[in-house]
Amino acid sequence: MQPENPIPPHPSPDGQNLTLPSDSPLRQEAARRTRRSFIVGGLAALGGVLGWRYLLQRPDAEGTPLPFRRVLDANGRLSAAYFKETRLAREFPKSQAVKQVRTNGSAGLQSKIDLAAWRLVVRPYGGGQPQEFTLADIKALPRVEMNTELKCIEGWSIVVNWAGARFADFLAKYPLASRSGQPINDIANPPADLAPYVGVVTPDEEYYVGLDMPSAIHPQTLLCYELNGEPLSIAHGAPLRLVTPLKYGIKHLKRIGTIAFADERPADYWAEMGYDWDSGH
């Protein structure tokens, strides 16, 4: 049913006198309704301001008030539920990859490193002796080259030519992420007792990131050792760094020291400073 137009067409009110005669019932009704509406509106505005201030003054949860942290985490759970390992980040022609790749951040790179003595340490899920790997062990895995966008949480992005081994391939060969010691043969059907999280830390433990396992075993998540076909420079995270176009650049930890699997979300350098722990794409 088409509702009646509440205001029938009429001449422009410009210059019309719409003042209601004083002490007319119409004027009293208009005044009553106006008063009531402005009081309700004013109280609602006040309630809104006080409510927002209340939210901001809640105790801090890793750099952001608790209600905001809860919403970030809920958003993360929602995207985890929607996540599919078959959705790939866009790949670009190699010609589009930038030649001079920007370095952003050097936390975890300040300590001295002897590249020849470097070992990747992996702590098996559920305990057991930590295992050590050389760069040659990683390079023995299938080499994957990809030209993907590095998206910085600051808002800029560049196409980068990366090469390395899939983390999923590493876990297929070295079954360290499931309690029963089963390898990942098919990322769509990983072992049922696969760890839900993985934490990656620099050798000096100054920089650390946490990833959800589905993102970590995504086919575009690499243990990366080459950039533009060259071994990583120190500033870009030699000898081995994490690369995943499924996350903002903050998760692309340079100079991997230790990898450990966990039941709870591992500590994350930027998440402790108020950023979204998931930071996923």
């Binding site: 137009n5 205001i7 009531r36 750099g63 952001t64 905001f68 919403v71 866009r90 992005s157 930027w270």
Partner: protein, 227 residues
């Protein structure tokens, strides 16, 4: 005959006034985010007419170094902005209010007349109805802009999971520019909207708060005589 005529339903008044602070805070937190990579400008080659934004602007409003805070506000308030907008659209559909809001065949011609009149270039004012053609176009466009902000926002928030959307919008970088341009659009809308509300006066403004307007409407035609 002077009457109090019902103009804005209660639901629309609530949607309108809730959207105002929510969109304002979305823009504010968006500025905190944008500051971290403030590369946009108006210009060509090496000539810059205007940089978004001058350093003095950030300093005056303390907009700098608030990226994390900006993101946490943005990703909470986006839900309120989305739900409020969705409920508004559903309400207008089911209540029939959309009939006054969507542009029709005459709207574009009438919008031209309204603009000429408002700029003082045309004497006669177009007849007053609930919304004139210019309003219909503006109020429909701003809803489409809201949808655009949600879609471009989603495209830069989850560019892999919604990769099809990001590609449709021209890529990650393009979607970020579109998200920014839409925000500039809201600011321009706001300037014109507030100027027009001030011009229209108290009676009109009050109707968005109290719902009614005082109008001098023609007396209803006498009912047919009963024999």
């Amino acid at each position: 005959m002077k009457q109090l005529v019902e103009k804005h339903p209660l639901a629309i008044r609530w949607f309108h006034w809730l959207n105002f602070p929510v969109l304002a805070l979305m823009i504010w937190s968006g500025l905190w985010i944008y500051w971290a990579n403030d590369v946009y400008r108006l210009g060509w080659g090496k000539t810059t007419l205007f940089k978004f934004f001058p350093q003095s602007f950030y300093e005056a409003f303390h907009l700098d170094h608030k990226l994390a805070q900006g993101m946490s506000w943005h990703f909470l308030l986006m839900w309120v902005f989305f739900l409020n907008g969705l409920l508004y659209v559903l309400y207008t559909l089911f209540s029939g209010e959309w009939r006054y809001l969507l542009p029709n065949r005459g709207s574009f011609r009438e919008a031209g007349q309204v603009i000429l009149h408002d700029l003082g270039l045309r004497k006669t004012a177009p007849p007053v109805r609930k919304y004139n053609g210019a309003q219909r176009i503006a109020y429909t466009a701003v809803i489409l802009m809201g949808l655009g902000s949600l879609l471009t926002g989603l495209a830069i928030y989850k560019p892999v999971q919604f990769g099809w959307l990001t590609r449709l919008l021209g890529g990650y970088e393009a979607a970020r520019i579109e998200h920014f341009v839409l925000t500039i659009g809201y600011v321009l809308f706001f300037v014109v909207h507030v100027a027009q509300v001030m011009r229209a006066g108290w009676n009109n403004f009050r109707s968005m708060v109290a719902g009614f307007e005082v109008a001098d409407v023609p007396a209803p035609e006498a009912k047919t005589k009963q024999n």
